[in-house]
């Protein structure tokens, strides 16, 4: 029997539907999540199955309904809060950073916030500077939050189920350009633990540590590099917090060269943190400096030729890998 394939969006929807069937305390709220199923149609059909008591349209009030998510989670529900574009997370920052992240610690462990915030990241959709950012580094920076970055339909389903069952606030970033990506997804109930990186491709000469959207870029680059005789290993941390430092460091020790790829801004970002982890953990095994590749340090422009140069591509990764491996074309 051929393996069942789903798109990334279908995998997310299946995880939500299965968790909502399993646990009546799971509910969804956000802007246009019900009949509209969000602009990306990720949630289509859920309100029909679970009703408007559990799939709830809100006003355009991100701070308000995220705060309501925090309180609802403290009082016995498992809300999945939908923030349509990751850029709109800026409107939720007090609720996420000062409230959700700190409730458990500040109360000495007496209250907890089992809430998931689902949102998007990623550029190249021609959506300009306020609908294209990848802001997951901001949340990875804050103790008390967990940050999840699925890169395949399989990971999306398993990680989202883990997120919903987690007792803590989890921010779940979906690459909006990946919603139509297809991949094998088992129909059964499975979860993927947080803090466990996945080696998406094995290789010997260079490690490409890549997150979310950049995993597909890294895999594409690895195929191109193979043709040039460079064997690239692709490691996907899958969660930036908790972070599987061990798998990353072991891979780098094996290959001795590494590029870190993340669609957030490279400066002060996830790529920088991963580079620091590698430098601390594998410095004496490195044959070349750690290379960071992230979004260019500019607001994401609208004009297609401008936007396209702001994010790493298979070609730019290949070029960087050649340099690190001492190969020139």
């Amino acid at each position: 029997m051929p393996e069942r394939e789903l798109t990334f969006a279908q995998a997310v929807r299946e995880a939500l539907a299965e968790e909502m069937r399993r646990d009546t305390s799971v509910c969804i709220f956000g802007e246009d999540v019900a009949e509209a199923g969000t602009p990306f149609k990720v949630l289509s059909g859920l309100v029909e199955e679970f009703g408007s008591e559990r799939v709830i349209d809100t006003p355009i009030s991100e701070a308000g309904f995220t705060g309501i998510g925090v309180g609802a989670a403290m009082a016995g529900l498992r809300p999945v809060v939908d923030i349509m574009f990751g850029d709109f997370l800026t409107l939720t920052m007090d609720q996420m950073v000062n409230q959700a992240a700190k409730v458990h610690y500040m109360s000495g462990g007496r209250w907890k916030v089992p809430m998931v915030v689902r949102t998007t990241l990623g550029a190249t959709r021609r959506s300009a500077a306020q609908h294209s950012q990848s802001l997951h580094a901001w949340f990875s920076h804050v103790p008390g939050l967990k940050v999840v970055l699925p890169s395949t339909p399989y990971d999306a389903k398993g990680l989202l189920k883990t997120a919903i069952r987690d007792e803590n606030p989890v921010v779940f970033f979906e690459d909006k350009m990946m919603y139509k990506l297809k991949g094998p997804v088992p129909a059964d109930d499975y979860t993927i633990p947080f803090g466990v990186a996945d080696v998406k491709r094995e290789g010997e000469d260079i490690t490409l540590v890549a997150t979310s959207s950049m995993v597909q870029v890294a895999l594409g680059a690895a195929i191109l590099l193979e043709k040039e005789g460079i064997s690239a290993e692709v490691v996907d941390p899958r969660t930036t917090w908790p972070l599987d430092e061990k798998t990353i460091i072991e891979s780098v020790k094996k290959t001795s060269r590494v590029i870190v790829l993340d669609e957030g801004y490279g400066r002060y970002g996830v790529a920088s943190e991963l580079a620091a982890v590698i430098a601390e953990g594998a410095f004496y095994d490195l044959d070349a400096p750690v290379r960071r590749m992230g979004a260019m340090h500019v607001p994401i422009p609208f004009s297609p030729p401008l936007e396209d140069v702001t994010v790493p591509t298979e070609e730019s990764v290949v070029e960087a890998a050649r340099q690190l491996c001492g190969k020139r074309q």
Partner: protein, 334 residues
């Protein structure tokens, strides 16, 4: 027969009412004396951090919390000791928290501005002005979804009227008919600035814009607060939606204990007027005596008992151990 029954009922009612108002008195006195101890601990440098006293505002917390169930929710503020005590917190564990001790409500990790206690429905005091409006509304959302009959009371000062998230959640609460009461304690000062310099229009008008049931009460009159709170809470519990209560009150001390020289923003005469003419404890004591519910010695006894309770609680907290340093990275994740 019927007249006997009616007399018995009347007697029971009177006793119940008397007990209620004596309990309200006791609670206000406990809060006042708790805060006196806080002031003492702080000025003697035994208490680290900041101390925002609730003295002068006791009738608001007590009038409202006396009408709540133990499992009803509250959220509180940086000026939260009164809310926590009124909802049932125990002074010894509160003082322990204020001193950063392991025995505190938050194991010393929260301090004065973050006391939280699931056992009394206290979702937590909050040091972000307006920071808990979403939490209270969300707890009400959960209560409605779970059908457990709980209500949530969201305490905040009039300074929080400047925060946009309040208006977002009031809109949502009214749309979804959530059992939440927004209690605006108008103590006149946003920190060091009179609220009329920061607040356009009217306070109640803001709630009215969303169609919330809105009421104004004299926050120095514990019986008036209790009466209006009972109406709003009963209404919310019955599924008739949220409400907004403006309680006019006064902060006797500065914004925090270190705010000593206040004449650039308010006069000593103004402070003296509230303390001598509008003190909620004195006003209620006068009423209790006038009604024959109490005599001066019985009220003095209540005060003496509360003082002894607070002194013992402070003693407990001062001698309680600090958390061990290895606790620093515990409780980050559940």
């Amino acid at each position: 027969m019927s007249s006997t029954t009616s007399n018995t009922e009347a007697a029971r009612e009177t006793t119940t009412e008397k007990d209620l108002w004596l309990q309200a008195y006791r609670q206000m006195v406990r809060i006042r004396l708790f805060e006196e101890q806080v002031n003492e601990l702080y000025t003697r440098a035994l208490m680290p951090g900041l101390a925002h006293l609730y003295s002068g505002e006791e009738a608001v917390a007590v009038g409202i919390c006396e009408t709540l169930r133990l499992d009803d929710y509250i959220t509180s503020t940086h000026r939260g000791h009164g809310h926590c005590l009124a909802k049932g917190a125990s002074p010894d564990r509160m003082f322990a928290e204020l001193l950063g001790k392991e025995a505190g409500y938050c194991r010393g990790k929260g301090g004065s501005m973050h006391i939280a206690d699931p056992a009394t429905g206290n979702l937590g005091a909050n040091a972000i002005v307006g920071g808990s409006v979403g939490i209270a509304t969300g707890a009400a959302f959960a209560a409605k979804r779970l059908g457990n009959g709980r209500v949530a009371v969201c305490f905040f000062g009039e300074g929080a009227l400047g925060q946009g998230s309040l208006y977002e959640v009031m809109n949502l609460a009214q749309l979804w008919k959530l059992p939440v009461i927004y209690v605006c304690e108008n103590n006149l000062y946003n920190e060091y600035t009179h609220y009329t310099e920061t607040t356009a229009g009217t306070i109640l008008g803001r709630a009215g814009a969303f169609g919330l049931e809105a009421a104004l009460v004299d926050g120095q009159d514990v019986r008036a607060v209790y009466e209006v709170a009972t109406r709003l809470v009963t209404r919310a519990r019955a599924g008739n939606g949220p409400a907004f209560l403006q309680a006019d009150t006064y902060r006797y001390s500065g914004h925090h204990v270190g705010d000593i020289n206040r004449e650039y923003y308010r006069s000593k005469q103004e402070e003296q007027h509230w303390k001598s003419e509008r003190d909620p404890i004195k006003l209620h004591a006068g009423w209790l005596i006038g009604q024959g519910h109490a005599e001066p010695p019985s009220l003095e006894k209540i005060t003496a008992e509360a003082r002894a309770e607070m002194e013992a609680a402070v003693k407990f907290a001062v001698s309680a151990p600090y958390p061990s340093v290895d606790q620093v990275d515990q409780d980050i994740y559940a």
